[in-house]
Protein backbone atom coordinates (compact mmCIF):
# COMPACT_ATOMS: atom_id res chain seq x y z
CA UNK A 1 0.00 0.00 0.00
CA UNK A 2 1.27 3.49 -0.85
CA UNK A 3 2.54 5.64 1.96
CA UNK A 4 0.14 8.39 2.95
CA UNK A 5 0.77 11.27 2.99
CA UNK A 6 3.28 10.63 0.16
CA UNK A 7 6.89 11.51 0.92
CA UNK A 8 9.19 13.05 -1.64
CA UNK A 9 12.62 11.60 -2.17
CA UNK A 10 15.46 13.94 -1.08
CA UNK A 11 16.31 14.62 -4.73
CA UNK A 12 12.68 15.52 -5.57
CA UNK A 13 12.39 17.67 -2.46
CA UNK A 14 15.54 19.56 -3.40
CA UNK A 15 14.24 20.04 -6.94
CA UNK A 16 10.91 21.28 -5.59
CA UNK A 17 12.60 23.79 -3.31
CA UNK A 18 14.82 24.99 -6.17
CA UNK A 19 11.82 25.52 -8.45
CA UNK A 20 9.81 27.26 -5.76
CA UNK A 21 12.75 29.58 -5.17
CA UNK A 22 12.99 30.21 -8.91
CA UNK A 23 9.28 31.07 -9.08
CA UNK A 24 9.57 33.39 -6.07
CA UNK A 25 12.55 35.14 -7.64
CA UNK A 26 10.71 35.50 -10.97
CA UNK A 27 7.71 36.97 -9.12
CA UNK A 28 9.97 39.42 -7.27
CA UNK A 29 11.70 40.54 -10.48
CA UNK A 30 8.32 40.91 -12.21
CA UNK A 31 6.91 43.06 -9.43
CA UNK A 32 10.02 45.26 -9.23
CA UNK A 33 9.93 45.76 -13.02
CA UNK A 34 6.22 46.61 -12.84
CA UNK A 35 6.85 49.16 -10.08
CA UNK A 36 9.70 50.68 -12.14
CA UNK A 37 7.44 50.82 -15.20
CA UNK A 38 4.64 52.57 -13.28
CA UNK A 39 7.19 55.01 -11.88
CA UNK A 40 8.55 55.77 -15.37
CA UNK A 41 5.04 56.19 -16.84
CA UNK A 42 4.10 58.59 -14.03
CA UNK A 43 7.25 60.70 -14.48
CA UNK A 44 6.72 60.91 -18.25
CA UNK A 45 3.03 61.80 -17.83
CA UNK A 46 3.87 64.53 -15.29
CA UNK A 47 6.47 66.03 -17.59
CA UNK A 48 4.18 66.00 -20.62
CA UNK A 49 2.96 69.47 -21.63
Amino acid sequence: MDEFPPRLSPADAALLVRRQRGRNMAMLIGLVCLAALFFAITIVKFKAP
Binding site: F4, P5, P6, L8, A26, L34, L37, A40, I43
Partner: protein, 308 residues
Protein backbone atom coordinates in the same frame (compact mmCIF):
# COMPACT_ATOMS: atom_id res chain seq x y z
CA UNK B 1 -6.28 7.37 7.18
CA UNK B 2 -6.31 10.53 9.27
CA UNK B 3 -5.18 12.88 6.49
CA UNK B 4 -8.21 12.00 4.36
CA UNK B 5 -10.53 12.21 7.34
CA UNK B 6 -9.47 15.78 8.00
CA UNK B 7 -9.74 16.66 4.31
CA UNK B 8 -6.05 17.39 3.84
CA UNK B 9 -4.97 17.67 0.19
CA UNK B 10 -2.04 15.92 -1.38
CA UNK B 11 0.93 18.23 -1.79
CA UNK B 12 0.93 19.68 -5.29
CA UNK B 13 4.36 19.12 -6.85
CA UNK B 14 4.82 21.33 -9.87
CA UNK B 15 7.50 20.19 -12.26
CA UNK B 16 7.32 23.37 -14.32
CA UNK B 17 10.25 25.72 -14.63
CA UNK B 18 10.34 29.21 -16.12
CA UNK B 19 10.66 27.85 -19.67
CA UNK B 20 7.26 26.17 -19.35
CA UNK B 21 5.62 29.41 -18.26
CA UNK B 22 7.28 31.18 -21.16
CA UNK B 23 6.03 28.49 -23.57
CA UNK B 24 2.47 29.19 -22.38
CA UNK B 25 2.84 32.67 -23.90
CA UNK B 26 3.62 31.30 -27.41
CA UNK B 27 6.75 33.46 -27.81
CA UNK B 28 7.11 32.82 -31.55
CA UNK B 29 3.61 34.13 -32.26
CA UNK B 30 4.23 37.06 -29.92
CA UNK B 31 7.34 38.10 -31.84
CA UNK B 32 5.35 38.59 -35.07
CA UNK B 33 2.56 40.38 -33.20
CA UNK B 34 5.07 42.72 -31.54
CA UNK B 35 6.72 43.48 -34.85
CA UNK B 36 3.47 44.40 -36.66
CA UNK B 37 2.33 46.39 -33.62
CA UNK B 38 5.62 48.26 -33.55
CA UNK B 39 5.31 49.15 -37.26
CA UNK B 40 1.79 50.47 -36.63
CA UNK B 41 3.19 52.60 -33.83
CA UNK B 42 6.24 53.74 -35.81
CA UNK B 43 4.43 54.89 -38.95
CA UNK B 44 1.56 56.63 -37.14
CA UNK B 45 1.59 60.41 -37.44
CA UNK B 46 2.56 62.08 -34.18
CA UNK B 47 4.99 61.42 -31.40
CA UNK B 48 4.90 59.11 -28.41
CA UNK B 49 7.52 59.35 -25.65
CA UNK B 50 9.94 56.39 -25.93
CA UNK B 51 8.99 55.15 -22.45
CA UNK B 52 5.30 55.15 -23.39
CA UNK B 53 6.05 53.57 -26.78
CA UNK B 54 8.03 50.82 -25.05
CA UNK B 55 5.16 50.32 -22.60
CA UNK B 56 2.64 50.10 -25.44
CA UNK B 57 4.71 47.43 -27.20
CA UNK B 58 5.16 45.59 -23.90
CA UNK B 59 1.39 45.65 -23.40
CA UNK B 60 0.78 44.32 -26.93
CA UNK B 61 3.29 41.50 -26.28
CA UNK B 62 1.80 40.71 -22.87
CA UNK B 63 -1.74 40.70 -24.24
CA UNK B 64 -0.74 38.40 -27.11
CA UNK B 65 0.99 36.10 -24.63
CA UNK B 66 -2.05 36.12 -22.35
CA UNK B 67 -4.33 35.25 -25.27
CA UNK B 68 -1.97 32.41 -26.23
CA UNK B 69 -1.96 31.16 -22.64
CA UNK B 70 -5.78 31.18 -22.43
CA UNK B 71 -5.87 29.43 -25.82
CA UNK B 72 -3.60 26.68 -24.48
CA UNK B 73 -5.74 26.38 -21.35
CA UNK B 74 -8.93 25.91 -23.39
CA UNK B 75 -7.34 23.57 -25.96
CA UNK B 76 -5.51 21.32 -23.52
CA UNK B 77 -7.69 18.35 -24.49
CA UNK B 78 -7.00 18.55 -28.23
CA UNK B 79 -3.37 19.57 -27.70
CA UNK B 80 -2.83 16.22 -25.99
CA UNK B 81 -4.02 14.44 -29.16
CA UNK B 82 -1.75 16.22 -31.65
CA UNK B 83 1.92 15.30 -32.04
CA UNK B 84 2.86 18.95 -32.62
CA UNK B 85 1.29 20.14 -29.36
CA UNK B 86 1.33 17.10 -27.04
CA UNK B 87 4.48 18.31 -25.25
CA UNK B 88 3.02 21.71 -24.37
CA UNK B 89 3.21 22.38 -20.60
CA UNK B 90 -0.48 21.71 -19.81
CA UNK B 91 -1.09 18.47 -21.75
CA UNK B 92 2.34 17.22 -20.64
CA UNK B 93 1.21 17.76 -17.02
CA UNK B 94 3.94 20.22 -16.05
CA UNK B 95 1.50 23.10 -15.39
CA UNK B 96 -1.94 22.76 -13.80
CA UNK B 97 -4.79 24.07 -16.04
CA UNK B 98 -6.08 26.38 -13.28
CA UNK B 99 -2.62 27.90 -12.81
CA UNK B 100 -2.45 28.60 -16.56
CA UNK B 101 -5.95 30.13 -16.49
CA UNK B 102 -5.02 32.43 -13.59
CA UNK B 103 -1.74 33.37 -15.29
CA UNK B 104 -3.51 34.22 -18.57
CA UNK B 105 -6.29 36.28 -16.95
CA UNK B 106 -3.80 38.21 -14.80
CA UNK B 107 -1.61 39.11 -17.77
CA UNK B 108 -4.62 40.04 -19.94
CA UNK B 109 -6.12 42.38 -17.34
CA UNK B 110 -2.73 43.89 -16.50
CA UNK B 111 -1.85 44.56 -20.16
CA UNK B 112 -5.14 46.39 -20.83
CA UNK B 113 -4.93 48.47 -17.65
CA UNK B 114 -1.31 49.50 -18.23
CA UNK B 115 -2.06 50.32 -21.88
CA UNK B 116 -4.89 52.63 -20.77
CA UNK B 117 -2.64 54.25 -18.19
CA UNK B 118 0.35 54.71 -20.50
CA UNK B 119 -1.38 55.67 -23.75
CA UNK B 120 -5.13 56.11 -24.19
CA UNK B 121 -8.53 54.44 -23.88
CA UNK B 122 -8.81 53.79 -27.65
CA UNK B 123 -5.65 51.64 -27.72
CA UNK B 124 -6.64 49.83 -24.50
CA UNK B 125 -10.13 49.14 -25.89
CA UNK B 126 -8.80 47.66 -29.14
CA UNK B 127 -6.30 45.62 -27.11
CA UNK B 128 -9.12 44.23 -24.93
CA UNK B 129 -11.20 43.48 -28.04
CA UNK B 130 -8.28 41.63 -29.66
CA UNK B 131 -7.79 39.42 -26.58
CA UNK B 132 -11.54 38.76 -26.35
CA UNK B 133 -11.77 38.02 -30.07
CA UNK B 134 -8.92 35.50 -29.95
CA UNK B 135 -10.10 33.76 -26.80
CA UNK B 136 -13.89 33.81 -27.10
CA UNK B 137 -14.62 34.12 -30.84
CA UNK B 138 -11.73 32.12 -32.30
CA UNK B 139 -10.63 29.64 -29.61
CA UNK B 140 -13.90 28.87 -27.84
CA UNK B 141 -16.45 29.40 -30.60
CA UNK B 142 -15.09 29.03 -34.13
CA UNK B 143 -12.08 26.74 -34.03
CA UNK B 144 -13.94 23.51 -33.37
CA UNK B 145 -17.08 24.42 -35.32
CA UNK B 146 -16.21 25.64 -38.79
CA UNK B 147 -13.50 25.09 -41.42
CA UNK B 148 -13.53 28.87 -41.89
CA UNK B 149 -12.20 29.19 -38.31
CA UNK B 150 -8.91 30.81 -39.22
CA UNK B 151 -10.47 33.17 -41.78
CA UNK B 152 -12.60 34.92 -39.16
CA UNK B 153 -10.26 34.12 -36.28
CA UNK B 154 -7.40 35.62 -38.23
CA UNK B 155 -8.80 39.02 -37.38
CA UNK B 156 -7.50 38.56 -33.83
CA UNK B 157 -3.92 38.50 -35.06
CA UNK B 158 -4.54 41.50 -37.31
CA UNK B 159 -5.27 43.97 -34.51
CA UNK B 160 -1.70 44.87 -33.36
CA UNK B 161 -0.97 47.52 -36.05
CA UNK B 162 -4.28 49.20 -35.17
CA UNK B 163 -3.35 49.11 -31.47
CA UNK B 164 0.09 50.57 -32.19
CA UNK B 165 -1.43 53.31 -34.35
CA UNK B 166 -4.15 54.10 -31.78
CA UNK B 167 -1.52 54.29 -29.01
CA UNK B 168 0.08 57.24 -30.82
CA UNK B 169 -2.93 59.00 -32.35
CA UNK B 170 -5.81 58.02 -30.09
CA UNK B 171 -7.94 57.17 -33.12
CA UNK B 172 -8.16 54.75 -36.06
CA UNK B 173 -7.88 55.88 -39.68
CA UNK B 174 -7.74 54.07 -43.03
CA UNK B 175 -4.01 53.19 -42.96
CA UNK B 176 -4.13 50.96 -39.85
CA UNK B 177 -7.28 49.36 -41.30
CA UNK B 178 -5.26 48.54 -44.45
CA UNK B 179 -2.56 46.95 -42.28
CA UNK B 180 -5.31 45.02 -40.50
CA UNK B 181 -6.61 43.77 -43.85
CA UNK B 182 -3.10 42.81 -44.94
CA UNK B 183 -2.70 40.45 -41.96
CA UNK B 184 -6.34 39.34 -42.20
CA UNK B 185 -5.95 38.13 -45.82
CA UNK B 186 -2.47 36.78 -45.15
CA UNK B 187 -3.71 34.43 -42.41
CA UNK B 188 -5.66 31.89 -44.56
CA UNK B 189 -2.88 31.04 -47.05
CA UNK B 190 -0.39 30.98 -44.18
CA UNK B 191 -2.35 28.57 -41.97
CA UNK B 192 -3.84 26.45 -44.73
CA UNK B 193 -0.36 25.83 -46.16
CA UNK B 194 0.58 24.43 -42.74
CA UNK B 195 -2.72 22.57 -42.43
CA UNK B 196 -2.15 20.87 -45.81
CA UNK B 197 0.73 18.85 -44.40
CA UNK B 198 -0.39 18.76 -40.76
CA UNK B 199 -4.00 17.79 -41.50
CA UNK B 200 -3.64 14.28 -40.02
CA UNK B 201 -2.89 15.87 -36.66
CA UNK B 202 -5.91 18.17 -36.92
CA UNK B 203 -8.13 15.29 -38.07
CA UNK B 204 -7.06 13.16 -35.09
CA UNK B 205 -8.00 16.02 -32.74
CA UNK B 206 -11.33 16.61 -34.51
CA UNK B 207 -10.49 20.20 -35.47
CA UNK B 208 -12.41 21.01 -38.66
CA UNK B 209 -9.53 22.58 -40.57
CA UNK B 210 -10.30 23.08 -44.25
CA UNK B 211 -8.12 20.18 -45.55
CA UNK B 212 -9.83 17.83 -43.08
CA UNK B 213 -13.38 18.89 -43.98
CA UNK B 214 -13.23 19.95 -47.64
CA UNK B 215 -10.12 18.02 -48.68
CA UNK B 216 -6.69 19.10 -49.91
CA UNK B 217 -7.87 20.00 -53.43
CA UNK B 218 -10.39 22.59 -52.21
CA UNK B 219 -7.77 23.91 -49.77
CA UNK B 220 -5.28 24.44 -52.61
CA UNK B 221 -7.90 26.45 -54.53
CA UNK B 222 -8.68 28.53 -51.43
CA UNK B 223 -4.98 29.21 -50.79
CA UNK B 224 -4.60 30.49 -54.34
CA UNK B 225 -7.78 32.62 -54.17
CA UNK B 226 -6.80 34.21 -50.86
CA UNK B 227 -3.26 34.87 -52.11
CA UNK B 228 -4.71 36.80 -55.06
CA UNK B 229 -6.88 38.79 -52.66
CA UNK B 230 -3.90 39.37 -50.38
CA UNK B 231 -1.81 40.64 -53.29
CA UNK B 232 -4.50 43.18 -54.19
CA UNK B 233 -4.73 44.37 -50.57
CA UNK B 234 -0.93 44.49 -50.21
CA UNK B 235 -0.48 47.19 -52.85
CA UNK B 236 -3.42 49.30 -51.60
CA UNK B 237 -1.35 51.44 -49.16
CA UNK B 238 0.79 52.52 -52.12
CA UNK B 239 -2.16 52.96 -54.54
CA UNK B 240 -4.04 55.09 -52.00
CA UNK B 241 -0.98 57.24 -51.28
CA UNK B 242 -0.33 56.04 -47.71
CA UNK B 243 3.02 54.51 -48.66
CA UNK B 244 5.70 55.36 -51.19
CA UNK B 245 7.20 53.65 -54.23
CA UNK B 246 9.66 51.63 -52.14
CA UNK B 247 6.80 49.90 -50.37
CA UNK B 248 4.77 49.63 -53.61
CA UNK B 249 7.62 47.90 -55.48
CA UNK B 250 8.38 45.59 -52.53
CA UNK B 251 4.72 44.65 -52.09
CA UNK B 252 4.26 43.99 -55.82
CA UNK B 253 7.41 41.84 -56.12
CA UNK B 254 6.79 39.85 -52.93
CA UNK B 255 3.12 39.32 -53.82
CA UNK B 256 4.06 38.05 -57.27
CA UNK B 257 6.37 35.51 -55.64
CA UNK B 258 3.61 34.54 -53.19
CA UNK B 259 1.15 34.05 -56.08
CA UNK B 260 3.70 31.89 -57.91
CA UNK B 261 4.12 29.71 -54.80
CA UNK B 262 0.35 29.47 -54.30
CA UNK B 263 0.03 28.40 -57.94
CA UNK B 264 2.71 25.77 -57.33
CA UNK B 265 0.66 24.50 -54.36
CA UNK B 266 -2.42 24.39 -56.60
CA UNK B 267 -0.61 22.47 -59.36
CA UNK B 268 1.40 20.21 -57.02
CA UNK B 269 1.48 16.57 -58.18
CA UNK B 270 -1.47 14.94 -56.39
CA UNK B 271 -3.27 11.62 -56.15
CA UNK B 272 -7.02 11.33 -56.88
CA UNK B 273 -7.92 12.68 -53.41
CA UNK B 274 -5.71 15.74 -53.80
CA UNK B 275 -2.98 14.55 -51.44
CA UNK B 276 0.49 15.65 -52.45
CA UNK B 277 2.82 13.13 -54.08
CA UNK B 278 5.86 15.35 -53.46
CA UNK B 279 5.73 15.35 -49.66
CA UNK B 280 3.90 18.70 -49.76
CA UNK B 281 7.10 20.48 -50.75
CA UNK B 282 5.25 23.48 -52.26
CA UNK B 283 3.00 23.87 -49.19
CA UNK B 284 5.98 23.70 -46.82
CA UNK B 285 7.84 26.32 -48.83
CA UNK B 286 4.73 28.53 -49.06
CA UNK B 287 4.25 28.36 -45.28
CA UNK B 288 7.85 29.45 -44.65
CA UNK B 289 7.68 32.13 -47.35
CA UNK B 290 4.43 33.54 -45.90
CA UNK B 291 6.27 34.35 -42.66
CA UNK B 292 9.02 36.11 -44.59
CA UNK B 293 6.43 37.90 -46.76
CA UNK B 294 4.69 39.58 -43.84
CA UNK B 295 7.99 40.52 -42.21
CA UNK B 296 9.30 42.07 -45.46
CA UNK B 297 6.11 44.03 -46.15
CA UNK B 298 5.94 45.51 -42.67
CA UNK B 299 9.67 46.28 -42.72
CA UNK B 300 9.16 48.03 -46.07
CA UNK B 301 6.31 50.06 -44.58
CA UNK B 302 8.59 51.16 -41.75
CA UNK B 303 11.55 51.99 -44.00
CA UNK B 304 9.27 53.76 -46.46
CA UNK B 305 8.08 55.97 -43.64
CA UNK B 306 11.65 56.78 -42.57
CA UNK B 307 13.02 57.54 -46.04
CA UNK B 308 9.79 59.09 -47.36
Amino acid sequence: MPALATGAALPSVSTADWRDWLKLLKPRVVSLVVFTGWVGLAIAPGHLHPVLAFTAILCIATAAGAAGCLNMWWERDIDALMRRTAQRPIPAGRIEPNDALAFGITLAVLSVLVMALATNIAAATVLAISIGFYVFIYTMWLKRRTPQNIVIGGAAGAFPPIIGWAAVTGNISLMPVLMFLLIFFWTPPHFWSLALYACKDYGRAGVPMLPVVAGPRATRRQIFAYTLLLSAVAVLPWLLGYAGRLYGATAAACSLAFCALALWVLLDRQDETGLSMTGDKPARLTFRYSLLYLAILFTALGIDRIVG
